[in-house]
Amino acid sequence: MQPEYDVNMLITGMADDLQTKLNSLPKQELFMIGIHTGGVWVAQQLHQMLGLALPLGSLDISFYRDDFSRIGMNPQVKPSKLPAPAENKHIILVDDILHTGRTIRAAMNEIFDYGRPASILLAVLGERSGRELPIQADVVGTHIDLTSDQHVKLIGPDNLTLQISEL
C-alpha cells in the first residue's frame, strides 16, 4: 500500500527550502524554469509562493532528448518559453519527478543554448531511485520508494496528485 501524498503540502515545504537556499542570491537574477508538463505545474505554485521578480519560464525538452532516434518525434511537443535571457541568471530548474536524470541533462543542455547561466539549482517534487546519470536535486519535496516496475506520475493541472501505477 502506497502512502497518499499531499502535493500542496510538499510544494509548500519545497518553497521553504528554496527560500533558505536563495536568500544569499540577488532576487532580480533568480529565474525559475519549469519542465513540461508536470514541472511547469509545480513551478507555477513555487513561483507565486516565492514572489519571484522575473516571469516563469517553461522548457519542452523534446528536441534535446537522447532517445529521439529510438522513439521519434513527439507530436505533443510544446514551444519552450524563456521570457528572460538565461545569461548570468541563477536558474531554478523545476521538475515533477527525478528518475533517470536524462530529462535534467536535456534541460540543462537546452538552457545553455539560451545563454550561460550563473548557476542552476534543481528542485523536484518527487525523487525516486533509478538514476542513470550523476545528477541530484538540491531541493526535494519527497522521496518515493518504488520498484523498477512501478511508475509515478503527477496528475494535474487542477488538484495535483501523485499517481503510482504498475507497469
Binding site: D60, S62, F63, Y64, F68, S69, R70, I71, G72, M73, P75, V77, K78, P79, S80, K81, L82, P85, A86, E87, N109, E110, F112, D113, Y114, G115
Partner: protein, 325 residues
C-alpha cells in the same frame, strides 16, 4: 500514375513528404503544431537543437532556387544535421539512368535524406520509390505537381494570423495553371476545411479541371478578392510570358496586379502572401508588397520552422522503424 501512399509507412506515419494530397487533416495539424515549437529555436542564443545530430541530408536541386534551398539548408543545420548540396543540371538524354546511378552513389555515402527539387512532375515520387528503405525523401517542388512544404508554411502563416481555418475565404491570384504552389495550397486549404477557396486569373492561366479541386473561379481581381481574409499572390514566371498565354506584363499588371485601391475590396484585416520571388510591378505593387498587410517576409521565417518540423518528423519515424526491425 503517381502512387500517393508511398509517403506513409505501414503504421500510417510520414515516411516521405511528397504531396499534401491525401494527407489527413490531423497530420497537417500535427506538422503545424510541431513547427510552432521549433519557432522558439530562432530565439535561442545558440540557434540549434541536437535532434538530427549524425544525420546527413542531401539537397538535390535539379532546378534553381534561392529561398527554398536556403531555408531547407538552415532548417537542417538548426537540427544539427550535416547538409550537403548537390547542384545538378539534368542532361536531356539518359536522365533516368544517370539519376538512379547518382542515388546509388549518395546511398553509398550513408546519406539519410534527400530534399529534391526537379522541373518534372513526379520526380520526387520517382526518387522515393527507388531509394534504399532507410532514406527519406522530401519534395521541394516538382514541375507543376506539388510543393508541399511551401503550402505548409503558408498554412502556418495563415493560422498564426487568423487562428481558425473554418471561417476563412482565401483567394489565390495568378498563374494557377503552371503553379505547383497553388496546387499544394488548394489541397491543404480544402483538407483544413476553409470556408471558400477562390482562384483568380485570366482564362489562359487556369487549368480546365480546376473545378474538381473544389474551388471557385474568378476572372476579375476585385471580385475575386472581395471580402477575402487571405490573398495569396503567385509568381508570374517570365518564361510563360514568351508563350501565347499572356499579352504583356504591363497589361497583366493593369488587370491582375495587386495595388492598394484593389486590395480595399478584401477585408480590412486581410493578409497578403506571396511565395517569392516577387515581380514588383507585375503581380503586385511595392506599396502592397511592403505594406502593413503583407506577411511575405514572415512566410520566409516560418519556412524554416515548418521545414524543421517535416524533416524531424520523417527522420524520427524512419529511425524508429529501423530500430524495431
Amino acid at each position: 500514375m503517381i502512387q500517393e501512399n508511398i509517403q506513409l509507412d505501414q503504421h500510417g506515419r510520414l515516411k516521405h513528404m511528397l504531396t499534401l494530397e491525401g494527407l489527413k487533416r490531423q497530420m497537417i495539424i500535427d506538422i503545424l503544431d510541431t513547427a510552432e515549437s521549433f519557432t522558439s529555436v530562432a530565439g535561442q542564443t545558440v540557434k540549434k537543437v541536437p535532434l538530427l545530430r549524425g544525420k546527413t541530408i542531401v539537397n538535390l536541386f535539379f532546378e534553381d532556387s534561392t529561398r527554398t534551398l536556403t531555408t531547407f539548408e538552415l532548417a537542417a543545420k538548426r537540427l544539427s544535421a550535416d547538409v550537403l548540396k548537390v547542384n545538378v543540371r539534368t542532361s536531356a538524354t539518359s536522365k533516368g539512368e544517370s539519376l538512379l546511378d547518382m542515388l546509388r552513389n549518395l546511398e553509398a555515402m550513408h546519406c539519410d535524406m534527400f530534399v529534391v527539387r526537379h522541373a518534372e512532375s513526379g520526380a520526387a515520387h520517382f526518387i522515393a520509390s527507388h531509394v534504399a528503405p532507410h532514406i527519406c525523401v522530401i519534395n521541394a517542388g516538382d514541375g507543376r505537381h506539388a510543393h508541399p512544404t511551401q503550402a505548409l508554411l503558408d498554412m502556418f502563416t495563415i493560422r498564426k494570423h487568423k487562428g481558425e481555418f473554418a471561417p476563412l475565404t482565401v483567394a489565390i491570384v495568378g498563374d494557377i495553371m503552371h503553379s505547383r504552389v497553388a496546387r499544394s495550397q488548394i489541397h491543404a486549404l480544402t483538407t483544413l476545411g476553409v470556408n471558400e477557396v477562390r482562384v483568380v486569373a485570366p482564362k489562359s492561366l487556369i487549368p480546365t479541371a480546376v473545378n474538381t479541386l473544389g474551388v471557385h473561379v474568378y476572372h476579375d481581381l476585385e471580385e475575386g478578392i472581395r471580402d477575402a481574409d487571405v490573398v495569396i499572390m503567385l509568381r508570374l514566371q517570365n518564361e510563360r510570358m514568351q508563350g501565347a498565354s499572356l499579352p504583356s506584363e504591363h497589361e497583366y499588371f493593369q488587370r491582375y496586379g495587386l495595388i492598394p485601391e484593389k486590395m480595399a475590396a478584401a477585408k480590412p484585416d486581410a493578409i497578403v502572401m506571396h511565395p517569392g520571388p516577387i515581380n514588383r510591378g507585375v503581380e503586385m505593387s511595392s506599396e502592397v508588397a511592403d505594406g502593413p498587410q503583407s506577411v511575405i517576409l514572415e512566410q520566409v521565417s516560418n519556412g524554416i520552422a515548418v521545414r524543421m518540423a517535416v524533416m524531424s518528423m520523417v527522420l524520427g519515424h524512419s529511425s524508429q522503424g529501423a530500430t524495431s526491425q
